[in-house]
């Protein structure tokens, strides 16, 4: 029986193929997730780039676009962006 307490759920099962490969124990304080930070930073850059690309190239480049009747005179250049 597994128990709800924290300790028991941490018991690693020897039959799990993944566990047999464990070579060291890293505790909370020694663990520094630089890899996660690197990946997420990369993701952030991709998101920013793609957002601008989609908005300003794909979307605004796909004119005509629905504009309000009044402002329309001023924004003749919407599609040029």
């Amino acid at each position: 029986m597994s128990h709800a307490t924290d300790e028991s759920t941490q018991i690693q099962d020897p039959d799990q193929p993944t566990d047999s490969d464990q070579v060291r124990e890293i505790g909370h304080d020694e663990f520094d997730p630089v890899g996660a930070l690197a990946l997420i930073g990369l993701y952030f850059l991709i998101l920013v780039f793609l957002w601008f690309f989609m908005y300003f190239v794909e979307f605004l480049g796909n004119d005509p676009t629905v504009v309000s009747g009044i402002v329309s005179v001023v924004t003749g250049g919407v599609g040029l962006a």
């Binding site: 930070l37 908005y55 005509p64």
Partner: protein, 265 residues
Amino acid sequence: MNIHAYEKLWLVAAMLLIVGFIATITYGSVALGITMVGDQQDTVEPTELADDDRFDDPRVEQVGENEYEAYVVAQTFSFQPNPIEVPEDSDVTFYVTSRDVIHSFSLVGTNVNTMVIPGEVAEMTVEFDDPAEYGVVCNEYCGPGHHDMEGEVHVVSEDEFDLTELEADGPDEVETGDEISVDVTTENRQLEAIETTITLEIGDETLTEDVTIEGGETLETTFTVDSATLGEGDHDWTVTVDDHTDSGTVTVADDLEDDGGDDDE
């Protein structure tokens, strides 16, 4: 609560991202004037569009120098009017509603796209610059023939564009020797006056009349032809104004059995 420094960093970055997204959209709305389809228009009765001033006759109307309004009805599985013709360099406001189920009205390859919901009227103002032809699709499933539902918007050059409506009416039969008169009604629905020529072709005869029609005016003309010159038999006739035509056929006979007068229709 114990949050790792990297996580805090990411939290800040994520918030920046979110605020940046909202800012971009706001910029589009405020600075570029991109407007969402909204609730500006009153509701309509989908089953009574025939009695509705705006939608009884789906059409394009001119409302200002370069401003037009297009009243469009979507129904299973077509759009009216089709094609929709508007001039280059114009601001066109589309008013779209549905006679039956939910459809969409979407100009392919553009950002003109709206749902069309029965009872509601979608309003979209669009600027068209150069002449072009756009396909229109219905991108909301509306029944078994949904994939056949298509239309077109033609943006045509200034010269080609008009809002002229032509209707011609002539007798079905006349007795040889009587006159054939064809009544022509020409309506100029544009705001400016047009100068044009109305032409009637019947048999080998061609009659023309140069006219000027003021904006919003309707002109009535009548062409008369002596049936004797045409001779006995069926004669097709065509009335032409610019690229609009209307036609009919008249039978010229020696003696008509019942002389019930000019039976028009």
